[in-house]
């Protein structure tokens, strides 16, 4: 069967940011009447590719052909006018306007300058009926769920004449029923000949709705496959890949937790802890001197587990026990009081206060624990900060430097130092090695090992399975917001974990 001509063909796309090559020589093509999944972990280049397509970014190299003609859009708006529309996870519509108005604003039919409301409502109703959506076009958009709002965004896009529809993680905040609804509309649009690019992290959804998959990793194309011919395990392998980085500095670790430690009661144990829409109830126990690794794809609930344990989000179910006693973890303060510390994956937005200095950022949590009226004496501050600047080799070793001016790796170390000086009993590290250079990465990995040797419990989250396997005594695997299984790390290899992620069951 001869393939029809691609409606969109991107070849050799290259995009550099200062210090990072976000995309190098990536090819991507899209055919009319197909749903094409774009997959990859954090930093793989998915959103950069979409932004390069829609003109948010200028590309440094490569060619974009839309219906055979070379295009370079100046922004999403121009892209939309040319027939390339994007539907985002966070809705880019106005909640305070009616459904009909959101579909037509900026292009309202007018007579003598006056907007013809009747016509708008009639056309909106027709359009919604075509998508088989039973909603009132005159109601305010904000009164509907995110799922319906996405449908309205789709309606707007296809009314502007979309040939290519990009769905950027539309399902992240939808429940199962809402996803079904979305997929029904996607299939319908596909049958009408529209080409759909679908970004998602959920494996099930890929197999449910897509025809073709393209996987990116570290800004490079890993491959393009037909979904029906691609086994789940191969898809996971494509996404996660094998890290070639050699970290020979790191000694082989004893993989299993020392038996003596297993007998003692865990430092922190969660039972049936969960939050609606974030992560299903799970059980997890972490012992003294133990590193527990959380494995799973992006969006699998890794971060949500960490946030629940730290009280950053309120749990809807279950409880947390510290040293066998049930405690109420209502907010980060109470979690800290029980010796739990959490380094967020979003260093800049949830971690550091970038306008403050290295010294201030390092002592922040300790100071918060002590309260404002008991300042840490200046000399003690300097001792502590000097100690950790040396121990973690933060460069430049200047405690009065504003954190904004540090490199990513050093910022990460500052954040680590902040929590280490509080001497936590459980340290939660969410992607501590992401976006930092290899040297800093090895240093942080070594640090995790030595902290555990010193008796600290560590919950280690990373997208890199190799890293998780190398450091952890115990591994918990998450998929689609469920904790699938928990197992000791004896003789487990990357393949095995991938198989669990792919199949969603312990094997």
């Amino acid at each position: 069967m001869a393939e029809p001509a691609a409606i969109l063909a991107m070849t050799g796309i290259t995009k550099e940011f200062p210090g990072v090559k976000a995309l190098s020589d990536v090819d991507f093509r899209l055919f009319p009447g197909e749903v094409h999944a774009l997959m990859g972990e954090n930093g793989a280049g998915k959103s950069t590719l979409i932004k390069a397509l829609t003109g948010v970014y200028d590309i440094d190299g490569g060619e974009i052909l839309l219906e055979g003609e070379a295009v370079r859009f100046t922004g999403p708006l121009q892209a939309q006018q040319a027939g390339v529309s994007t539907v985002y996870q966070e809705i880019n519509l106005c909640p305070n306007l009616s459904v009909a108005e959101n579909i037509f604003i900026g292009r309202e039919p007018r007579r003598l300058g006056a907007i013809q409301w009747k016509k708008i409502h009639r056309r909106a109703t027709e359009l919604l009926r075509r998508l088989r959506l039973d909603i009132d076009a005159s109601a305010l958009l904000g009164t509907y769920s995110i799922a319906v709002q996405q449908m309205v965004a789709i309606a707007r896009a296809i009314d502007i004449s979309a040939k290519v529809l990009i769905f950027d993680e539309p399902t992240s905040s939808l429940d199962a029923k809402e996803c079904e609804q979305l997929f029904r509309v996607m299939r319908q649009l596909k049958d009408e000949g529209i080409a759909i690019l679908f970004v998602t992290h959920f494996l099930d959804q890929v197999y449910e709705v897509t025809d073709r998959v393209t996987v990116l990793r570290n800004g490079r194309l890993v491959g393009e496959r037909l979904t029906a011919e691609l086994a789940q395990i191969d898809l996971v392998a494509m996404m996660i890949g094998k890290e070639l980085e050699v970290l020979e500095q790191l000694d082989e670790q004893p993989k299993s937790s020392p038996a003596a430690l297993q007998d003692a009661s865990p430092v922190v144990a969660a039972s049936e802890l969960g939050r609606d829409g974030a992560v299903a109830p799970f059980n997890l126990a972490i012992h003294r001197g133990e590193v527990v690794g959380l494995a799973g794809l992006l969006g699998s609930g890794r971060t949500e587990v960490a946030r629940l344990l730290f009280g950053a989000d309120r749990a809807d179910h279950g409880q947390i026990r510290v040293d066998g006693t049930t405690v109420a973890v209502r907010n980060p303060r109470t979690a800290m009081a029980h010796g739990i510390a959490f380094c967020s994956e979003n260093r800049r937005t949830e971690g550091l206060v970038e306008d403050l200095t290295v010294r201030e950022n390092i002592i922040l949590a300790l100071q918060a624990e002590r309260g404002w009226s008991r300042p840490i004496p200046r000399r003690r501050q300097e001792e502590l900060v000097d100690k950790y600047i040396k121990a973690l080799r933060i460069t430049p070793a200047n405690p009065d430097m504003v954190v904004r001016n540090l490199s990513g790796g050093n910022q990460q170390k500052v954040l680590l130092a902040r929590w280490l000086i509080t001497e936590p009993r459980l340290l939660i590290l969410d992607e501590p090695t992401r976006g930092i250079d290899v040297g800093a990465k090895a240093e942080i990995q070594r640090l995790v090992v030595s902290l555990a040797d010193g008796g600290m419990a560590v919950l280690f989250i990373s997208a890199e399975l190799e890293e998780v396997l190398r450091l952890s005594h115990k591994i918990a695997v998450l998929r689609d917001r469920h904790l699938v299984t928990e197992m000791p790390n004896d003789g487990v290899d990357v393949e095995h974990v991938m198989r669990i992620i792919a199949s969603g069951a312990a094997v």
């Binding site: 999403p76 708006l77 939309q80 006018q81 809705i91 880019n92 519509l93 106005c94 909640p95 305070n96 306007l97 108005e101 604003i105 900026g106 309202e108 007018r110 300058g113 006056a114 907007i115 409301w117 088989r132 959506l133 039973d134 909603i135 009132d136 005159s138 109601a139 305010l140 904000g142 009164t143 509907y144 769920s145 799922a147 319906v148 707007r156 029923k177 809402e178 609804q181």
Partner: protein, 329 residues
């Protein structure tokens, strides 16, 4: 599919957005009722018309403010622009000998220009509207005093005729200023509901980032809105000079607060995106009726006006939060 929509039965939905305006309307009715029961002369229709007569200029200014607040901005300069307009009119008419038909368009142009300039600074340099219009407020007041530090009486025949003539319907009457104010409100309401400019105003207030992504002319709209507010302030200033027959740098001190209060009590969200001009009319009436009741009572002092306005602001902002919170879930 029903699970997606079932939470919001279609019947009750359209009313939701009118709740704040309805609340203001009932408040106004209650206040009027209380007044009518307590004071005999209160039920005379002319009392309500007098509220319009005394507040025509505030109504015009508040209408302009409504546009700005709908985009999520604020304009602190309105009171000063009103004062500047009275001063400029008085000076041009009395001291420079300009004819009224030249003075009127000129002062309106100056007001709109000031608003336009502030809008440009707000939009292009991304400085908070609060600070930019604060500077505008200082500037306009300062300009008043460069003209004169004392009050200039206006004796121009057109001005005095506008001050003294009455538009009668039977036994009732209003001043021409009220007609002007009502025309402004009607035109404003039409612009907000039936033109792209109006709808873009709402869209920007609802979600500026989305408005940009949907291809709406955010820059043009934002700047126009401040120009409208400047124009309305100047027009309000003209009406105030009809009312006072003088130009003075201390006219309309604190009027920006009255205008903001009227808009908020009229049900417009201070965060933008929701509200109606008719609500602003009701808000101005509420302020006027409070003053009228206090005048009628005789034992209540004028400062109760401010305390009551403060309390109403509190209640209405709280009400907005409650409605907003319910909408979000």
């Amino acid at each position: 599919m029903t699970s997606l929509t079932g939470r919001w039965p279609g019947l009750r939905r359209p009313q939701r957005k009118y709740i704040p305006v309805l609340a203001t309307l009932s408040l106004l009715a209650v206040m009027y009722g209380v007044g009518a029961v307590r004071y005999e002369a209160f039920s005379d229709g002319q009392v309500i018309l007098n509220v319009f007569v005394d507040n025509a200029f505030l109504l015009v200014v508040a209408a302009g403010m409504t546009f700005v607040i709908l985009t999520g901005g604020i304009d602190l300069s309105v009171g000063s622009v009103v004062a500047l307009t009275t001063m400029l009119s008085a000076s041009l008419l009395q001291e420079q000998g300009w004819p009224p038909y030249a003075v009127l368009p000129f002062v309106l142009f100056v007001g709109a220009l000031l608003g336009f300039a502030m809008g440009c600074i707000i939009h292009y340099f991304e400085i908070q509207p609060f600070i930019v219009t604060l500077a505008g407020m200082f500037l306009a007041r300062g300009l008043c005093y460069t003209i004169s530090t004392s009050s200039i009486p206006i004796t121009d025949p057109f001005w005095t005729s506008m001050a003294q003539s009455k538009v009668r319907f039977g036994e009732y009457f209003v001043s021409p200023s009220v007609i002007v104010a009502l025309v402004v409100v009607i035109v404003g309401a039409y612009v907000l509901s039936h033109t792209r400019l109006g709808r873009n105003t709402y869209a920007i207030g609802g979600n500026p980032a989305s408005a940009l992504l949907m291809g709406l002319p955010v820059a043009r709209t934002q700047i126009t809105v401040y120009a409208i507010s400047g124009f309305c302030s100047a027009l309000g200033g003209v009406l105030l000079s009809f009312y006072m027959l003088s130009g003075y740098g201390l006219h309309a001190v604190g009027m920006e607060l009255d205008a903001i209060a009227a808009v908020v009590i009229g049900g417009t969200l201070l965060t933008g995106g929701s509200g109606y001009l008719v609500g602003t009319v009701l808000g101005v009436l509420v302020l006027g009726v409070i003053q009228t009741i206090i005048t009628f009572d005789g034992t209540l002092s004028s400062w109760w006006t401010k305390i009551v306005i403060g309390a109403l602001l509190f209640v209405f902002i709280l009400l907005q939060r409650v409605i907003g919170a319910r909408k979000a879930r």
